[in-house]
């Protein structure tokens, strides 16, 4: 089947593309860019995309798909559907499943589950067996099976000696270690420690618990030459530490979630468990530091930390509720509403942080918008105004604090692997 994306603004900062074009896609391959003739239009399904933007497909490098183990919360399929609906053509899924992704069989199991889907799913494997922070997982074998990075996400790799070994061992195949930076000995709280936690009587986790592990990891990245990627950075001081490390040419990258630049800890006053996450929502100054970090390149990319939970688990007394919110289907809109429309980032910068940089960090080829290439595209409308409705999410879960929020900007369609997701359904193209 042939489709034409008509008069869409093609933006690809790496290829220096920035112009309205007609794209002819035949069997999932970009066949023509501009110069389309009448016969092309007659033989194709035409999408009129004036005022819409077409970029290389977005990639979320931090999602929890819950399979294997908690298929009641999310599966590879439903999580991938949520990704497609949110404008993503690729995701990297975290290893804290049950069992953990610490054997090649499980990497292959997930890849097999995702094989037919439009969305590319790249497993991140556990850095240590069962994420216990003790013995290294079979990293080389996991890499060969398709793992693109290693992480004990949910916790940091506890022991500096083990992290050193993981960083050094991964030098042979070039993958990063993704770190959830939190010093466990200071982390027995449920929100950011500060005036709000004091007022609410909720035990807090201080920002320094994050900063301590960030600085440890930066020093080990420098010492070993390995790559450290800081997951969901949230503290102002940590952003400054990464900024300095980058100036010193240390191999460190960082991601931030939309909620850490959009929301702050004063929202916890409602004791709504949809504001309970780890790292916790921080203060206004921290949220502003996230935006500064995105602007000056200290923070390389935006990732959702999509964390599905069953309704009955989240509907619980605050201290007992699990951490995390889903994010795939609100991420792009929060980026547009809170970063682009507030003039913090340009749309080109957003494409770098949501399509290009995450793939660079994970050594995944960046989709090219070029004749003869596989069409791996996100088409979005930065100005579309819509209201979030958790009941319309493709994700199995509904734990989002953004329900009923008015947003500006939304994905219209994604194209990848000869498939298209448009108007709520997948079609072969």
């Amino acid at each position: 089947m042939k489709i034409i994306l008509k008069q869409v603004l093609v933006l690809h900062p790496e290829q220096k593309l920035n112009q309205k074009s007609d794209l002819l896609i035949n069997n999932g391959i970009i066949e023509k860019i501009n110069g389309l003739n009448e016969a092309d239009f007659k033989s194709s399904k035409v999408f009129d995309l004036d005022n819409k933007i077409c970029s290389p497909g977005f990639f979320d490098m931090h999602v929890h798909l819950r399979e294997p183990g908690r298929e009641d919360e999310e599966t590879v399929e439903t999580g991938s559907n949520a990704a497609a609906a949110g404008g993503f053509t690729g995701v990297a899924c975290m290893p804290n499943t049950d069992p953990n992704i610490d054997s090649a069989e499980i990497v292959r199991f997930i890849k097999e589950k995702a094989k037919e889907h439009l969305v590319d799913v790249y497993p991140v494997a556990a850095a240590t067996l069962a994420r216990k922070g003790e013995a290294l997982s079979p990293m080389y074998e996991l890499f060969e099976a398709g793992a693109v990075a290693f992480s004990d996400d949910g916790v940091a790799i506890k022991n500096a000696g083990v992290l050193r070994n993981a960083l050094e061992y991964s030098l042979n195949f070039g993958t990063p270690i993704i770190e959830h930076c939190e010093d466990e000995s200071m982390a027995d709280g449920v929100m950011n420690e500060g005036l709000i936690s004091t007022t609410l009587g909720l035990p807090g986790v201080p920002k320094v618990a994050e900063d301590l592990v960030v600085i440890r990891d930066i020093m080990l990245a420098e010492f070993t030459g390995g790559k450290v990627h800081i997951a969901h950075i949230s503290s102002k001081k940590s952003v400054e530490l990464v900024r300095q490390a980058k100036k010193n040419k240390i191999n460190v990258t960082a991601e931030v979630t939309p909620h850490h630049f959009s929301l702050t800890d004063d929202l916890l006053k409602s004791y709504d468990t949809n504001y309970k996450m780890n790292p916790p929502l921080r203060t206004r100054a921290d949220a502003e530091a996230m935006i500064e970090g995105l602007k000056d390149g200290t923070i390389d990319c935006i990732a959702s930390d999509h964390a599905p939970h069953a309704i009955e688990e989240k509907e619980m007394e605050f201290i007992f509720a699990p951490n995390g919110i889903i994010g795939l289907e609100t991420e792009l809109s929060l980026v547009m509403s809170d970063l682009v429309h507030k003039k913090h980032l340009t749309i080109s910068q957003v494409i770098e942080k949501m399509a290009i940089n995450p793939r660079k960090i994970l050594n995944i080829p960046i989709p090219q918008i070029k004749i003869g290439e596989v069409a791996n595209l996100t088409i979005f409308d930065p100005n579309l105004i819509w209201t979030v409705d958790i009941n319309k999410f493709k994700s199995k879960a509904k734990n989002s604090p953004f329900d009923k929020r008015l947003m500006t900007g939304k994905s219209i369609a994604v194209v990848n692997k000869g498939k298209m997701f448009f108007e709520d359904k997948f079609t072969a193209i």
Binding site: E193, G194, L195, T198, T199, G201, Y271, E315
Partner: protein
């Protein structure tokens, strides 16, 4: 006159007029408690559930007595006698209780925010009997009542809360309530027990107990709660007593009138010496009696709201 909110979740944000009304109403009930027949028919026909998810002896007894004195029908529900252990969620438990048509719920829970959550899932009036490290508003009210009973006023008084402020729900209720009534509030304790940014609530911090004694009219001395892991924040109870314990020698150094409160139960020889716990400065048993009157006032004011 009636209260501005149909729940009592905490004293944060409760207007002065409401606190005044509760304290005035408590005075009336305090008098009832001195009568030979201590019962009034005020809440006859009302059903109140005491939902206690955490051990409590005196608060639960005090609420229960207050309810009986007001002629309400009372049901006690605590985790050991409920289906909680069979894995029922909190929400389901509350919905089941609600289905039995109750008018008020008095709740104690380990997690801060549970009373507020209850207002979203139940139609009953909710009274917080202590939520996590957050608030214990009836304790704050009975403390204020007891101070006022002894010193005749609250406005302008200097009140210092001593001990593990970070792990106390009594501290926050005292801070919010007393400040609302115009008292000058401070805290004193080892720095490991003082929560971050407490000064932003308009509270002075004393690092030295003698200075706190010298500069305050009232000390509200908190229990050192080993069950709340206090042991990780102080080297030993002995050392705590040595540097922060209230003893007769300490008080008498200053040769002045001082009022000592304690929410109970007391660790004798830790936060208070026995001499002080039984001595002339303390109002500890008055607090217990006043607690019933204050809880009667709260139940009455909320239970008769339209």
């Amino acid at each position: 006159m009636s209260l501005s909110n149909r729940h009592l979740l905490g004293l944060n944000g409760v207007p002065k007029e409401d606190i005044q009304l509760i304290l005035d109403t408590a005075t009336t009930f305090r008098e009832v408690l001195e009568r030979p027949i201590k019962k009034v028919p005020t809440l006859q026909g009302k059903t109140i559930v005491n939902l206690f998810y955490e051990d409590s002896t005196r608060t639960r007894i005090s609420f229960e007595l207050a309810q009986k004195r007001l002629s309400a029908d009372t049901i006690n529900f605590s985790t050991s006698t409920s289906s909680v252990k069979k894995g029922e969620t909190f929400k389901d438990t509350v919905r089941n209780i609600e289905a039995m048509k109750v008018d008020m719920i008095v709740v104690r829970h380990k997690s801060a925010g549970v009373p507020q959550y209850l207002t979203r899932i139940s139609k009953a009036n909710i009274i917080n009997a202590g939520d996590g490290l957050h608030e214990h508003p009836t304790q704050g009210l009975l403390d204020m009542y007891s101070i006022k009973e002894r010193l005749g006023k609250l406005e302008g008084l200097k009140v210092c809360i001593v001990g593990d402020i970070a792990h106390s729900r009594v501290a926050l209720s005292n801070i919010f309530g007393l400040k609302s009534m115009g008292a000058v509030v401070s805290v004193c304790g080892p720095a490991t027990m003082i929560p971050l940014e407490i000064a932003s609530l308009g509270v002075k911090i004393f690092t030295n107990i003698d200075e706190a004694l010298a500069k305050n009219d009232v000390l509200n001395v908190l229990r050192i709660q080993l069950e709340r892991n206090a042991g990780t924040r102080i080297p030993s109870l002995r050392e705590y007593h040595k540097y922060f314990g209230i003893t007769s020698e300490r008080i008498e150094k200053f040769n002045k009138e001082i009022v000592i409160l304690h929410p109970g139960p007391i660790n004798r020889g830790v936060e208070l010496s026995s001499e002080v716990a039984d001595g002339p400065y303390q109002v500890i048993l008055d607090q217990v009696t006043n607690g019933v009157a204050v809880r009667m006032a709260v139940l009455y004011l909320l239970g008769t709201m339209h």
